[in-house]
């Protein structure tokens, strides 16, 4: 399969704090990749850099064969990259439906009835349809996280970046989330997923990348990575089958 996203020599620091240190990796079209790493390792910053919320100091990001390193966040979304935010950023004064409609209208470029139908479809897929008319600002944290995914899906991305959306879910809710993400992936969307809930991550991804102090320290088959020394050093006492 062809390479969809290619990150080369990506570095970013805020003074002495290094959030990305010469990071290199590729993601192929149709792949599902998991990103692991302790808190503060630079996982969310990596998403900021890929989506254009942050610009790198050095390095190059290519998406579908095009250099997007200096492209605005909005253009990158139009090119086909959408994300969920770890700290939800709902459009609080707008209804849940309108939140999804923003993605369908401005991300996917749909208009009129087509945009409305698509927004309703993603709300149905993410279990938010019954909340359509509620102001997003009054949603619970878990609902906000679901809205993050709904809004990103509404933009019809080729590459979907998910940032810690499984935390705090019950087992049943987690199963539903896994099914949703698998369905999106099966529909042809490439996925990069940052997640601490390892069993959920392992149910979906085909490859793991481990990051610490902004550096990629391991990459490969999920089972092999979870048994590796690097992971055990970082996640002392963490059971991958929990």
């Amino acid at each position: 399969m062809s390479v969809l996203l290619s990150v080369t020599g990506l570095s970013k620091s805020f003074g002495a704090v290094v959030v990305a240190d010469d990071t290199n990796f590729d993601v192929r079209t149709g792949e599902a990749v998991g990103i692991l790493g302790p808190n503060g390792a630079g996982k969310t910053s990596l998403f900021h850099l890929i989506t254009g919320a942050l610009w790198p100091d050095t390095g190059r990001i290519e998406f579908a064969g095009r250099d997007i390193t200096t492209m605005s966040a909005a253009r990158r979304c139009n090119e086909g990259i959408a994300r969920s935010f770890q700290v939800p950023q709902p459009f609080g004064g707008m209804t849940v439906f309108e939140n999804a409609l923003v993605g369908a209208t401005h991300g996917a470029g749909l208009r009129g009835l087509a945009a409305e139908t698509h927004a309703l479809a993603v709300l149905n897929d993410t279990g938010l349809l019954s909340k359509s008319n509620i102001r997003a600002g009054s949603l619970t944290l878990l609902e906000r996280k679901r809205l993050e995914m709904a809004r990103a899906l509404a933009a019809r991305p080729r590459l979907l970046l998910l940032d810690e959306i499984a935390g705090g879910l019950t087992d049943a809710e987690c199963e539903m989330l896994i099914e949703t993400i698998k369905r999106v992936h099966a529909g042809g969307t490439t996925i990069i997923w940052i997640e601490h809930v390892v069993h959920a991550l392992l149910a979906v991804v085909q490859r793991l990348i481990v990051i610490d102090f902004g550096k990629k320290i391991a990459e490969g088959d999920p089972r092999t990575i979870m048994e590796s020394r690097e992971i055990k050093d970082i996640y002392l006492g963490m059971d991958p089958h929990a």
């Binding site: 989506t51 254009g52 919320a53 605005s72 966040a73 909005a74 253009r75 979304c77 139009n78 959408a82 994300r83 935010f85 950023q89 709902p90 459009f91 609080g92 004064g93 707008m94 209804t95 439906f97 309108e98 409609l101 923003v102 993605g103 209208t105 401005h106 991300g107 470029g109 208009r111 409305e116 309703l120 479809a121 149905n124 349809l129 019954s130 359509s132 008319n133 997003a136 809004r151 990103a152 933009a155």
Partner: protein, 338 residues
């Protein structure tokens, strides 16, 4: 799911449309039932309402908290004088042209002040307005620092009789307010309005969903600046006299406007309308108290900001779930339809 439908009208909005229509017919007929002083007051109210709607679009939706829109009010006023006196234009043509010139002027200004964020942006807009005031005070042909009056020949070109002129300027003010409210409403209902509302709530998420924030803000800034200049022209067509201090007054054209929008409810279409009514009610009842009037206005603003940060309209809307301008999308689900 396939049966879900999306609508945007509400029964409250339909009722509001009927009420608005009745009020408009009565307002349009004012020259036949209202006195001279009442018509002047109502004209002023319409023009303040327009300024408030425009400032609300800019600050409440696009997040451009400007304290310098007096730059464009004054610019519009001065262009009316300059274009009629030196250009020989009809006053209405001059006011329209003033709007176009303000639009052209606002682009380079935006490229300068859009580099500033938050409080720095606000101060930047004020500095620009001061530059305008000082520049126009240098033009001796327009009376320099002491200003000038609109020549009688220009005034007469509007209408021959005094009552004819008064009716015409009244209708112009009313028409401008209707045009401003309608265009802001239609803009907010469009897909650009959806983008702007998203920007209001989270710029980070909006840009990540494909919205070009810089461009959206620029469009709003250019359009509001042009319309603000047109309103400025109409304001000084009523006053017939202009001076730099009156034209570029931060008190008259920005502080009062912010008061109106904040107490009415910033970031809503209904807010500026309610705010304007409250402002004029307060002003007319407190007019005899002199400077105490300004202190009471300040007190009202502080109390409302502390108790109901979303303004009077925010309070009403949350209590009654009302929406007079149907902007929101309502999804009718299968369950609720059965």
């Amino acid at each position: 799911m396939s049966d879900s439908a999306v609508t945007r009208t509400t029964s409250a909005a339909r009722a509001a449309t009927i009420v608005a229509f009745v009020v408009l017919v009565a307002a349009a007929a004012a020259p036949w039932w209202a006195g001279r002083a009442d018509m002047r007051l109502m004209s002023e109210l319409y023009l303040y309402l327009s300024l408030a709607c425009l400032w609300n679009l800019m600050a409440g939706y696009a997040g451009l908290v400007s304290v310098g829109q007096q730059a464009f009010v004054g610019f519009g006023g001065y262009m009316l004088f300059a274009l009629t006196i030196f250009g020989g234009l009809h006053p209405i043509a001059a006011i329209v042209l003033a709007g176009l010139l303000a639009a052209c002027l606002s682009v380079p200004i935006a490229s300068l002040i859009f580099r500033l964020k938050g409080a720095y942006f606000a101060i930047g807009t004020w500095v620009v307005a001061e530059v305008f005031r000082l520049s126009f005070a240098q033009i001796s042909a327009l009376g320099g620092g002491s200003g000038s009056s609109l020549p009688v020949s220009v005034v007469k070109s509007l209408a021959a009789s005094r009552s004819g002129r008064e009716s015409l300027t009244y209708w112009l003010a009313l028409g401008a307010a209707i045009a401003v409210i309608l265009s802001v409403y239609l803009f907010l209902r469009s897909r650009k309005g959806l983008a702007l509302t998203a920007i209001r709530d989270s710029e980070l998420a909006a840009s990540g969903l494909g919205i070009d924030i810089w461009r959206a803000k620029l469009e709003v800034y250019v359009v509001t600046s042009a319309l603000t200049a047109i309103i400025g022209g109409l304001i000084f067509l009523q006053k017939l006299r202009i001076s730099p201090d009156a034209a570029f007054s931060v008190n008259d054209w920005t502080a009062f406007v912010i008061f109106i929008v904040v107490i009415g409810g910033i970031g809503t279409l209904e807010g500026p309308i309610i705010g304007t009514l409250i402002f004029f009610a307060l002003r007319e009842t407190l007019a005899d108290f002199g400077t105490i009037y300004l202190m009471i206005l300040g007190l009202v603003a502080i109390v409302i900001m502390l108790t109901t940060p979303k303004g009077v309209w925010g309070l009403i809307r949350d209590r009654l779930d009302l929406e007079l301008f149907p902007l929101a999308y309502r999804v009718q689900l299968d369950e609720t339809r059965k």
